[in-house]
Structures are given as C-alpha cells and as structure tokens.
Subunit: 154 residues, 2 copies
Amino acid sequence: MSIALERFGDRWSLLIIRDLMVRGFHTFKQFQESGEGIASNVLTDRLRRLKKWGIISAETETGDARRVNYRLTEKGIDLAPVMLELLIWGSRHEAAGLPCAVTENMAKNREQVLKEVRLRWQNRDRTPVLPAYSPGNFFSGNKRTKGARIPSNP
Amino acid sequence: MSIALERFGDRWSLLIIRDLMVRGFHTFKQFQESGEGIASNVLTDRLRRLKKWGIISAETETGDARRVNYRLTEKGIDLAPVMLELLIWGSRHEAAGLPCAVTENMAKNREQVLKEVRLRWQNRDRTPVLPAYSPGNFFSGNKRTKGARIPSNP
DNA sequence: CAAATTAACTTGCAATATGCAAGTGATATT
DNA sequence: AATATCACTTGCATATTGCAAGTTAATTTG
C-alpha cells in the first residue's frame, strides 16, 4: 500500500499540515485552541509522527525555552500542490467557505499560488494566507477575499 | 474544519478511490482480496459513505444480480489531480515503487496524465493504469514501466 | 525572590472505531 | 437439487481517539 496514503490516513495529519502551511500556526497551543478539537495527547502523537517522517521540524524558541516552534520541512512544503488540489476540489464539490471565484482563480494560476506559498515558507511568513478563519473552508477558511493576495490574473 | 479533509481523514477512503481510479477495481470482492487488508464491515461502511457523499456510485450488474459495480462519479474522478500530486510527492519523498523517472515524467505532463485518466473513466476502461501491483507504490504499484502508456514526452 | 502563570506535554479512563472470524441471504452455476 | 459466489452482517476482541485532570520546566508578576 502506498506510503503516501498511509501517512495521511488519519483525521488530523493533513489538517496540521494545512494549518502550518496557510494559517501560520507554529505552536502546540495554537493547534489546541484552533477550535478544530484535536485532543492534546493525539496532537502530541501526530506532531511526533510528522517529525519522525521528516515532514515537520520542531525547535525550542530562542528566548523562551517553553515554546516549541513547529515548521514544515522542505518535504512538508512540497505537499502544497496536494493541498491546493484538495482546496480546488472541495470548492467545486463541497460547500466551501471561499467563493468559487477565488478558488477558480487559484486553479487558473496554480503555479503562481504555489510560488507564493513557497515564498511565504522561505520567509517564515506567519500571517495567514487568508486573514481570518471560518468553518467549512479549506485553506484558512475565510469568506473575505480582500487580503487574499495570491491570485490576480497576470 | 475543511469538509474535504474530513472526507478523507481515515485510512481507507483515499485508497478505495485510488483503486477505483487507477487499478480498475469495481467490486466488493476486489477490494477485499487486494491484499490491503480492509475488513469487510469497514469496507461496507466506507463504500456507503463515499456513495452518500456522491463520490462513487453503486449499481447491480445487469445479468448477474449478485454483483454490484462501484464506480467513481464525476465528483470522484475530479480527485485525480489530488491523487496525482500525492503520487508525485510520494515518489520524491518516500520510497516509491515507481521509478522516479516515470513519475517525474508524469510531473512534467500533468495535463496529459489527467486527460488520460479521465478518458479511461469515460470509457469505463478497467485495465489498471500500470499493469501489476507491488507494495510501496502509489498508483498501481508496479516497478514495470512498460505498459505505462501515460507519459511520453510530446 | 516567591507565587502565579504559561507552554508543552502525560496520564487514566471512557467512548469510538477498527480488525477478525464466522455467519446470512439472495442469486447463479453445476 | 446441491453447491458456489457475492455482497454484505454480526459478535466480539483490540486499537485508536477523546476528555479531563494532572505534571514539569520555564517565564512573568508582584
């Protein structure tokens, strides 16, 4: 069986990766309080597994040794195309929080979007890709389109 | 939380979709005997859920009322881009059964590959995308490249 | 500097999901 | 008519997840 499918065959792993990728999450607490409802013991386990698999890294913050900063590795950020396709699919086929116009625009400019996401990763940019969050949505889950800088037809 | 991620947040759903998409599976029995080890009660449940969500359809075969034919819907086949990106990611970052040359070729010809997959779906073509199966691989899991008609640089 | 707070986990136990082996019932084949 | 096949069910053991309440180490506060 495909290793890739085994990796993400649970309720939380992909969600954690998405939150790291586009919502700017980087601490244990943020995941816990995100409202998604992951139990702390499971969160611990998932972060550990993702780290073991080289998808995320964990390093204690310089200046506050209580905090641990989680971050996608190169391998992790390489999942961006998967996430983007899932976003587009969800927007087309499931009730979505983002207006279809926005996601269809993303679909037309996949390379652009992915370039932008990777740049944010390189720059350690922690602002959410879309500013706020509301349920039912994929990327950051907000209906606002303002601030979603990503796709503007070239 | 994203509906798309909720849909596939279990061990088997994506695997079933992949098997329908590229391995030519279409019966309960095939899934059971595929060696992936899904329990029959869970398989029943997953097929039911996927049907409920409109991702697959189920119809009893004309001519043999015992058989049920499972098939991806339009919504289901639209997951092909997600699957393809997962395949490419897995090939780059996890031990893969397919030679990287093949998957990188697919990565260069995504549109081609997707067109081919959709055509197979339209034609109800049940031959596996890649002829045989070996573990550790994503699409059909075979190391053979012969018969993988999909990517040939244009 | 002692007390309170914070962040990242652990622990114990209940609830849920999954795995397994053995059915069942409706066709179809021999 | 007997046997086999196919798509499920059922009952129960095991594993995973969810929940609430700790624990530990590191800051912050008064």
